[in-house]
Symmetry: D4
Subunit: 228 residues, 8 copies
């Protein structure tokens, strides 16, 4: 299937996003061939949903070339962009079970050189945990908020914080919460105006949405527009 | 269809609940025949989902015999039970659009002589509204909490209040919130332990659940058990 | 039910959003009482989902005080904010049937004094229609894209435009498209990174999300943060 | 991910509930670190959804410190509260396949020192099995009723028993019963007034709801209210 | 559209069922043309889902030729078959709201000359109501049981009655019961072996299933088999 | 969990059905204890959904006592009833993939001594296969028809066969057919009057429904009615 | 909203399809303005889902310019294309209730000058009705098959007919058939290879699919390809 | 279960399709017996959904007789038909993850001797990839288009290409895209007229639909019609 792989080399110029390789469901051989091609062209890659077992079975020279983080199941192939400026994005998480998603968002931001702050375990079942971190959150123009189950966090936060708010439902939970539909629908139905929502477990996409926002209002954003 | 109507006369003795007539979908003629029968037997009735137009089209002697409240769409046919003691149940509502459900709960409690406190419009999108009423709520052993859309209120309240908590989702909203499934699933998935949930818009049932609880721990509750 | 109405007067200070009155399902009497209260306190209000028939049945003095627009079903009660600066938000619509949603977004932006550009009928079934407007769109840091049915527009646009992208599914269509679930799921599953999604038909919310973004990166945004 | 774990130490004081660790989906390493932290602070923990294989793979010193029960998949880390008074809660189960849920409820009650009676295999397909135990059930102010598939038990029981009734659907069954939605919807639609419902398989939550009720009407309940 | 109507004249010979005209959604003109054709050929017809308003708007000569029953919304066009023998089918209904379906079944049986017994309002929320009629029910080889909402009746009855049992869910109820899916799934998931289920509100189909059974074991059933 | 097992010894007398043990999800130890109890009381048992691996892991003395059939995953513990009379039930199957369900029905009938005819692979995609077997089918008063995917077989057969017709959807297929919902809904919506439907994959239940029918019209059926 | 209407004038050249105006949900004023524009440019239009009441309320000069057919709810504005050659497409319908969809397909074909044969009321519940028309059907290279409820017709037909087969589910029916999902899923799951499916009630789309096929294999089809 | 296997030998003559063996869920023993029967009768077979592990476990003489392709999971047992003429079908795929479906379509076409062109990885997130291949695609009278997630490709392609268009949704993706429902609904709701849709992942069926079309307009198609 080698001929099927067409790396999207112009994406960075056009949108400011490198090719991201979604590894779930791909064989180790398939991933390995993609890495070979990227290596030949000296292209950096962001690997998402790369399971520990997939990573472990990669050839050693690929394993060594990847900065792998198991909780988020992300890998950096090639050096990530250098960090630029102060953090402008907070990644806020309701429970520790949601960290696999929020870490994916944080790692994606790191890959693109965007500093960010992770604030974990501030679900509103224990309200004071959120209130204790509110000042820190309110300094950021963009917040990614990650929650599963009843997903009450974006509504409470959205009523206290005036900036850009991107909500990511997670598939955590059982019964009617299973698979994340309850959290997704809760976020889409938020009583607070202006909560924008991503697909279930899509930490990568949330980071990209945050990048689109921050770049659109910074010098960095102008470059890709001109060059495309 | 006269012969189809069998009023459940033993229910009060057995469970402590009178017959409740769910009027939605019933013709005015059908409701009127039920009232005739109840009148003959001097039975009190609680009418639920009695729409204004149904009420208006009832024969005048029935209309005059009913204490009708249009927001909750409830009617008392016959005198309600006398109020007994201090309020032990709070009915807490997220938004003004949910009042048609919370009022149904409050009216049902009133019908059975159970004093209660209505606290409206304390949705967590404006968190301080809830916090301002928290002391009042915490004096009650039982709280009925009514919310639609993302239904974040039961989770926030359930993390601050240790007593019995009965949540009622409402069908308010549009898109994925339409019909109340988002609110129902949010409540069932609450991160807070011990939130018990009713069917969508079932304010009547929530009141009955609260009555079951309060009576089970009071003298009043013993009577029906013995007599059944 | 007068006592149920609690206008959220602090919302503007805290979040920069006035109270918005969702009129669908409210009686004309209920809306009228809200307007009376707002008038007493000299508060401006944004009315959403105000159907033509509701508007027509309002008392004349209220009707005259409202700037009503029937396609979007929005009304401005009180003067909208003065327009500030150049347009930074484009509202892009796939088909003419989706205009009831995109106009709601555009009117909400107008209410808050945010100039914007409406670009209608550029669905990708006729691809050149979008390409012809692309340069215009790319000058905006934020785009709201409104589409129903298969909702292919956000994906095509998101692959050509690097800025912030807020997608709103509409309930237009029949069969599996009916109610907007197909469009919603299509948008959440977009192959393009960073598309953030609102509830079905939620043009108002999309405008608020865009306002959160633009304000977070402008002087105007700092004020509410300090004062809250 | 060590830094992600924040044990909610104030929960006991505020709500009367210790931290419960939901183990499903957590690695053994993650669970082990939580136990280490709890041990350091001499905190008791309730472990739920702890699968036999997870338990078996825990370090020996943790295994020995846990009172593990495999059917309910619960573990007590630290001594449970001493039993107080006579049983006031019955846990009634329709079929033997539902016992994994009812035992979770019973074990949670035991953890908090609340004596209870388990009544198993009284599904209404064999009606006399329920009738034979009815007197025993009716002595309890609170009943937790656990059933899967058509979940007819809460309706039949609710028509015979006047006390507080908490229903828990189970995921037992195949075809349309698979996953527990049929049982959940059946319980929410019960013809009997006042049946309150938990999420599918949520035996832990049902026990907490029962605890909220019993404590709200006993001395024990006052303490947390005062101290929070 | 006259040419579109092709009355299935051989159905009676082949299956023992006349053509049944499902009137919901048909215009009065369309129904009237069907009746004209049937009159020309001296064919009897069973009309189902014939709403009162449709009946009222039919030409007078058609109205007079129809034995109309408004609760079941059925009409006999032409004389029904003469009643044959003792009742062998009971039509048992949970609540008075379900009678529009059970009456449709009873009327269909009457149309085909099959005597039957209607037993109404024996839902298991009041268990003794069913037990009081059990002896009567058990004399019948076939029972049609009609119930909405949680549909517990077929399970309780199926555990007490050994004969053929056909269950019909109804669309009665609100929230998760709305439309009849909860009742349908409850019946399909019954814990009792051998409950066969019809589509929601399909009283006509239930009667036909009962007719198939009774005829298959009687002389009457042999005739159509031979002649087809 | 030994105490949880309560064999329903009166079921045979009351309904004519022995206890059936649904083995899916039960541990081998649990099944083994049930068999021990049955052995002690000399009770015959029907085991359903007994997977090959479960059977293989049973103690040898239990394995030898069970007549196991792997396709249907059924086991007879104790001698089945002697066969009585001529076959009156046909079990008709659309495709070979559906045989795991139809064989379960046939084996259940065999267990109860009811002779039956299996007719396999007559799906209507190849219409002549059904027509070739039609005479054979029409001699039977009861037909169980098993089909997955589009489940067109019951409709075609139901238009050609006047007797009792019990349809069983199967979970065979992928995409929208996956899990059997498409087949279930197709059967419930059949254009042919009088098709009664079972839960997905419920071959056991279909056999019980057929047994209820046949017994209700034979001497054999009277016995349980009298003795209960 | 005049400025929102952009007639797609190049569609005919590019794809061979004129603009089709979907009238459902459009106001009469909106439709009228579209007709004005088309008249100015001497463009023919196909109007779909034009309800009788909408047609009746149009200005008289528009009404007279439209060839309206009420069953299909279609209108030809401007002369349809002249009919070309022999019929190559059959439109086959299961029941008379499905004719509103099949007629829409037939009318769309007529609009584009494609002769076709309508074969109505050949649902497989009466199998011989289909078999009687089979020879006629098999002469056509393309068949559109329209069916609701269980939608067994495409499977039976697809097993007898080797040509191109386009299936259209209809929203006819009640209970689980309501809205057409059962028919849609049945068609997508057909046991017969090569059945292609349209959205529910999409007769217009089915005709366009048939036109795409026939034109791709005829001279007529080459023209648009060259000119675009 | 040997007797259950009935190879449909007349299918080739009637429809022009050989028997296709769907291997998913079949045991290796079952597949092996089918191959034995086919070998005895010198019948060619197309094996679909034959997983690598199933193939590997087949007896060696069967393995050697099969032309197996692992990505599509298809096997040719017996020689495929000789290729005839120029390619008339393009198989166009949105992403590399969808190739398992498009390759199944291409392999099915190859089996029947129908040359075709595979065009991979032209999803519209990178629009120029599609435009670069458009001329090649437009030479084909039939296009099969395979896409998952938001499935925007058929709409964009259908607006540029006038020929026959068969769309296949894939089960690729997570969250709301999981299982392929989002892609299916997107395709059925396409804004472009005349897109015909297959079941999720049904590459085999798409190829058969394309074969039905091409054969219906070629000499090859006439043969089966005459001989059946």
């Amino acid at each position: 299937m080698d001929q099927d792989i067409t790396l999207d080399l112009q994406r960075a110029a056009r949108l400011g996003f490198d090719e991201a390789i979604y590894c779930s469901g791909k064989t180790v051989g398939h991933i390995s061939r993609i890495l070979d091609q990227a290596q030949d062209k000296a292209l950096p890659l962001l690997l998402t949903r790369l399971h520990q077992t997939q990573f472990t079975e990669l050839p050693e020279h690929h394993r060594r070339a990847i900065d792998f983080e198991p909780v988020s199941r992300t890998g950096f192939f090639g050096a990530p962009r250098p960090l630029q400026g102060e953090p402008r994005i907070a990644v806020v998480t309701a429970g520790t079970s949601d960290v696999f998603v929020s870490r994916e968002a944080a790692r994606t931001l790191r890959y693109y050189g965007m500093p960010n702050v992770e604030i974990t375990d501030v679900g509103v079942a224990g309200l004071w945990r959120l209130l204790a971190r509110l000042d820190e959150i309110r300094h950021m123009p963009v917040v990614i908020v990650v929650a599963g189950m009843d997903a009450a966090l974006p509504t409470v936060l959205g009523g206290l914080y005036p900036g850009a708010l991107i909500a990511v439902p997670t598939s955590v939970g059982y019964g009617v919460a299973s698979g994340g539909q309850a959290a997704l629908h809760s976020m889409l139905s938020s009583c607070v105006p202006g909560v924008a929502v991503m697909n279930i477990d899509n930490g990568y996409g949330a980071a990209c949405a945050a990048l689109r926002i921050v770049r659109a209002f910074s010098q960095q954003a102008e470059a890709p527009k001109k060059s495309s």
